[in-house]
Amino acid sequence: MSSALLFYMSAVLALSGGFIMLFSKNTVGSAMGLLLAFVATAGIYLSLSSPFLALAQIFLYSGAVAVLIVFAIMMIDEQKKYELPVHGLFTKSLAVISVLYTIYILIRIVRFSGSSRVALSDTSELGRLMVSDYLLHIEALSVILIVSIMSAILVAKRKS
């Protein structure tokens, strides 16, 4: 499959994910739309021939952030209306689409042929940059991570 096709497919999914997030009355639906858009973005990265970022996108956004959001929704679920995230045909189908698309993207990553018109991203080059030119940024990021973890705990902790 050419990268242009992959791009258009991913673009349509990302846009539809975005609109679902925007218009869904259901918070969980919004989250599912977001999840779909995240996965689609991974596809876009792939079409830009940078498989590492696509993988990172799935791991970080779809894996961590989206799950975190769903967790938060469950914690503060206001009207106790939604027992579990997957409720109703629309949300269910959205979840199924995301999952299927994720699998597809993962397959694409594994079988990445580098046939696109832009040169294949050299992941080792990116890795080398991280420990040479951008070493300071990485260190600063680690500090930011630690601080944000601690502050998140501090803020969310119940006063007792």
């Binding site: 242009a4 791009f7 673009a11 990302a14 846009l15 975005g18 609109f19 997030m21 925007l22 918070t27 919004s30 989250a31 977001l34 858009a37 995240f38 973005t41 876009i44 990265y45 830009l48 021939s49 940078s50 590492f52 970022l53 990172a56 996108q57 970080l60 956004y61 961590a64 952030v65 975190l68 959001i69 967790f71 938060a72 929704i73 914690m75 503060i76 206001e78 018109r117 832009v118 040169a119 991203s121 050299d122 080059e125 990116l126 940059l129 991280m130 951008y134 940024h137 990021l141 930011i144 991570l145 944000s148 973890i149 502050s151 998140a152 705990i153 803020v155 969310a156 119940r158």
Partner: protein
């Protein structure tokens, strides 16, 4: 081909922006913010790949990490707010004004 990417990125960005503006649920607002960051990431990677410069990709990676941190703190704030105000609608939470 680069134009399609840029246009997509912009459209996604504005979808996120409109989400932030029109939705009242703070969790969805946070989602919109994530969405905007994502769109920015696409823009970075696009330029990075088309001009073969790794800085863009690196910055996208940084954006992912920052977004994760932001999400963690933002959600914890929302949870704390829910405990205090009993609501996560931004209209309900205008304590400073009163």
């Amino acid at each position: 081909m680069i134009y399609q990417y840029i246009v997509l990125s912009l459209i996604l960005f504005f979808i996120g922006l409109i989400t932030v503006i029109v939705r009242r649920n703070l969790i969805v607002v946070l989602m919109g913010i994530e969405f905007m960051l994502n769109a920015a990431g696409i823009m970075f990677v696009t330029y990075s790949r088309f001009y073969n410069n790794y800085s863009g990709e690196f910055i996208t990676l940084v954006i992912m990490l920052i977004a994760a941190c932001e999400m963690a703190i933002g959600l914890s704030v929302v949870v704390a707010m829910f405990r205090i105000f009993g609501s996560v609608k931004s209209n309900d939470i205008r304590e400073l004004r009163n």
